[in-house]
Amino acid sequence: MDQKKLKKDYPDGVNFLLTGVGGQGTILASNVLADLGLALGYDVKKAEIHGMSQRGGTVISYIRWGEQVFSPIISKGDADIIIAFEKLEALRSIEQIKPGGLLLINDYAIVPVTVSSGIFEYPEDEKIHKTIIPFTSNEFWVKGLDIAEEIGYPKASNVVLLGALSTLLGIDEQVFLKVIAARIPQKYYSLNELAFQRGANSIIG
């Protein structure tokens, strides 16, 4: 499978940072990206931290594709691609992005208790966007949950984002879907396929 665009845009491999809130399906998405890297012939490392952070806290995983990957951790300013499953978390990780790197944001807010208890304010979309500008102009917002809800499967907002990613990276849809199929129960496949395609089209449209 020739992934010309990918090899041209990322000749040294790809560093992904996935961020979200516990329970948002970031783990499945990072597993899929790790499998995809292997399917595309890369060496792969995928790192995530379990434990206390899962209780409503920020969840971050790193996936690295390359000829030979050493460190599981991505250094500051070395993330080629950040996928934020929650808007506020996009900002929390933005300093990790490579100048001009690709930022894919799920247009969805999970209000932390520090906001609901009145200590902080949740930043407005405009403020989020303005904060991102100095880091990258390569910013895409996807209504992951809305799209997933439209097809009647709100759980698949993570797969909507993966669909969007496939368009942005020019990765063969069939290769991607095959990897997803191997990670989910068969009875949910057609819904996930639909979510993926709606996500992929959301970028073109």
Binding site: D35, R55, P72, G77, I94, V113
Partner: protein, 613 residues
């Protein structure tokens, strides 16, 4: 066959391939998935023990009985099991015994970041330190062979980053067939550690470490990678990855076995490179040993004392390493040029923190709400309920280690502290090390009030079965420990079990007990809100127009209760709303609301029905 495995999955895989057939351990991040993975393999016995000490004793018994055995725990678990570690280091075994210690640099979910390589040296057993999943699998297999070859338990020392990083692993499909050993040993000189025997064993294990150091010279997983000779790096564990990432041209002595060390190998490495440094996470464990051997390790002129321990020369002694830290430390030490990085952009927007909190519907919330009102000193323990420390509940005053709550509360009480002391502890932690402490409270008659928060599962580590759940790790139905009966058997006469969501009963009971002398135990029982059976009962509650923004419900710290943008017309305070995605319908908020402005479950159902009509 090659598959993507986490370090933990790879250890389980390696153990199975090596013919290990018995496993016992206690859950603890980052080690938990080793047992969970191993338990699913064919032809194995795997169990959760009530604590790490019991787990290790079980493993030792199995290894005495001739079965290859593994015992897993997090780093602080080995403190609990240390007594057993030291005797088995003396006795040796009949079949391979591997002790996995999963350390947690940076304390992602721990109370300290102790470096358990020190335990290997302390107890005189070899220590293998893998750098990725392939090595996790390979070293596990090697550890069983080493264990039998040298008649010693072997420590496999993992770290969070290795445990929870996935990378491709080459493996086989076969479980080694281990030939049956003889009958259970009747070898008192070796296995009965009375002083007369122990005195004879001690020189033997000192010799064993000498032999292992010899063996280390040719051990396949100690290797030298020569590249340029101006810089040589001695490293082990995950730090090897950072060495390769940050110093692609440097020569590297990669130690798979970090104790004991191969002195000749180190000598020849030091001879062949101009400058030698040691790159390791946490303690200067390798570095101190190499210095003691008399080799010259490069030391920069200016070492900031605040960042490095006096014998650790370049890299920080605290926290997990990463390429950024390694690069920066190396630059400061003059090993790398400072690169002119484009003026690093940083954001100047204060971001709302997202601290871990008790989940919506958590059955621990009610007790913490009551305790926060009572303003008594609360001695906490290790588990989800440690999150009772977070605002707005802010209820935990001390928390040190597993099982400490009851003993600490007792100590404060017998010291004559004027306030009434409370201990809070979860079901699994109570079974772990809480029971002896409660016996002490009963026996020595202190005034301690203990709240056992029984959420019917080991929660924080991700829902492991325990002696209270009625099931084993391998899903066999079993007896369910009756906590109330056990508490009574400990000698506590004042015991009450209540539904954890009953705020009023909890408050009334605790207030009454505060007035009376003597020890008491309140068991608050309700399953964890994240268990599948609990999820089936979710029913989001509603706020009515009776709400006047009085803020009482905000004080229970539930993530499902939000401040509305709508203000109360009279007081201009934000009204409460309930997030319908997050709310489980536990009714704690409805109970504390002074204006009955939050509907209870049956009221919600009735309202829905009337809307349908």
């Amino acid at each position: 066959m090659k598959r993507l495995l986490s370090g933990n999955e790879a250890v389980a895989r390696g153990a199975w391939e090596a013919g290990c057939s018995v496993a016992s351990g206690y859950p603890g991040t980052p080690s938990t998935e080793i047992m969970e993975t191993f338990a699913r393999f064919p032809n194995v016995y795997a169990e959760w023990a009530p604590n790490e000490k019991v787990g290790l004793d079980v493993a030792i018994g199995a290894a005495y009985a001739g079965k290859r055995t593994i015992s897993t725990m997090k780093h602080v678990g080995l403190n609990v099991a240390a007594d057993s570690l030291f005797y088995v280091a003396m006795t040796g075994i009949e079949a391979g015994l591997v002790i996995v210690s999963a350390d947690d640099p940076s304390m992602h979910s721990s109370q300290n970041e102790q470096d358990n390589r020190q335990f290997a040296k302390f107890s005189r057993i070899p220590c293998l330190d893998p750098a990725d999943s392939q090595e996790s699998r390979d070293f596990t297999i090697a550890a069983f062979d080493l264990s039998e070859q040298f008649d010693t338990p072997v420590m496999l020392r993992m770290t969070t980053r290795v445990c929870h990083t996935s990378s491709p692993v080459e493996m086989t499909e076969q479980q080694q067939q281990i030939p049956a050993k003889g009958p259970y040993p009747r070898n008192t000189a070796k296995y009965v550690m009375i002083p007369v025997n122990a005195r004879k064993r001690h020189p033997i294990i000192e010799e064993r470490i000498e032999d292992l150091a010899q063996f280390a010279e040719s051990f396949a997983y100690n290797r030298i990678e020569y590249r340029k000779n101006d810089l040589g790096i001695i490293t082990g564990g995950v730090a090897y990855q950072y060495a390769r990432e940050v110093f692609p041209q440097a020569s590297i002595l990669k130690l798979g076995m970090v104790f004991p060390l191969p002195v000749e190998m180190i000598r020849s490495f030091c001879k062949n490179v101009e400058k030698v440094i040691v790159l390791e996470e946490l303690d200067p464990f390798i570095e101190d040993q190499v210095r003691l051997m008399g080799f010259d390790i490069y030391r920069p002129n200016h070492v900031e004392k605040s960042e490095t321990y006096h014998t650790k020369s370049i890299f920080p002694i605290t926290g997990e390493l990463n390429p950024e830290i390694v690069r920066f430390s190396a630059q400061k030490a003059g090993l790398l040029e400072f690169t002119v990085k484009k003026e690093g952009t940083s954001i100047n927007l204060p971001l709302p923190a997202r601290p871990p909190t008790l989940c919506p519907g958590c059955p621990h919330r009610s007790s913490f709400y009551v305790l926060s009102k009572l303003k008594v000193p609360v001695n906490g323990d290790i588990g989800c309920y440690t999150l009772g420390v977070a605002p707005p509940l802010s209820t935990i005053d001390t928390c040190g280690c597993m099982g400490a709550s009851i003993g600490v509360a007792h100590g404060a009480a017998v010291a004559g502290d004027q306030e009434r002391h409370v201990a809070v502890i979860g079901d699994s932690t109570f079974f772990h090390t809480g029971i002896p402490a409660l016996i002490n409270v009963a026996y020595n008659r202190s005034n301690v009030i203990t709240v056992i928060m029984d959420n019917r599962v080991t929660g924080m580590t991700g829902h492991q079965d325990n002696p209270g759940t009625g099931f084993t790790l391998q899903h066999q139905a079993t007896v369910q420990l009756d906590i109330e009966m056990l508490v009574r058997a400990c000698g506590i006469e004042k015991v009450l079990t209540v539904d954890a969501f009953e705020v009023e009963i909890i408050e009334k009971t605790l207030k009454q007990w505060m007035k009376e002398a003597g020890p008491a135990v309140l068991i608050t029982k309700e399953e964890c809100a994240l268990l599948p059976s609990a999820r089936k009962k979710y029913l989001p509650l509603l706020v009515t127009d009776q709400c006047n923004g009085c803020t009482v419900c905000f004080r229970i710290g539930c993530p499902a209760i939000l401040k509305s943008e709508e203000l109360d017309p009279k007081y201009h305070r934000p009204l409460a709303i309930i997030d319908q995605e997050l709310c489980t319908g536990c009714e704690i908020c409805a109970q504390v609301c002074p204006r009955d402005a939050i509907l209870f479950r049956d009221q919600v159902i009735a309202q829905r029905k009337s809307e349908e009509v």
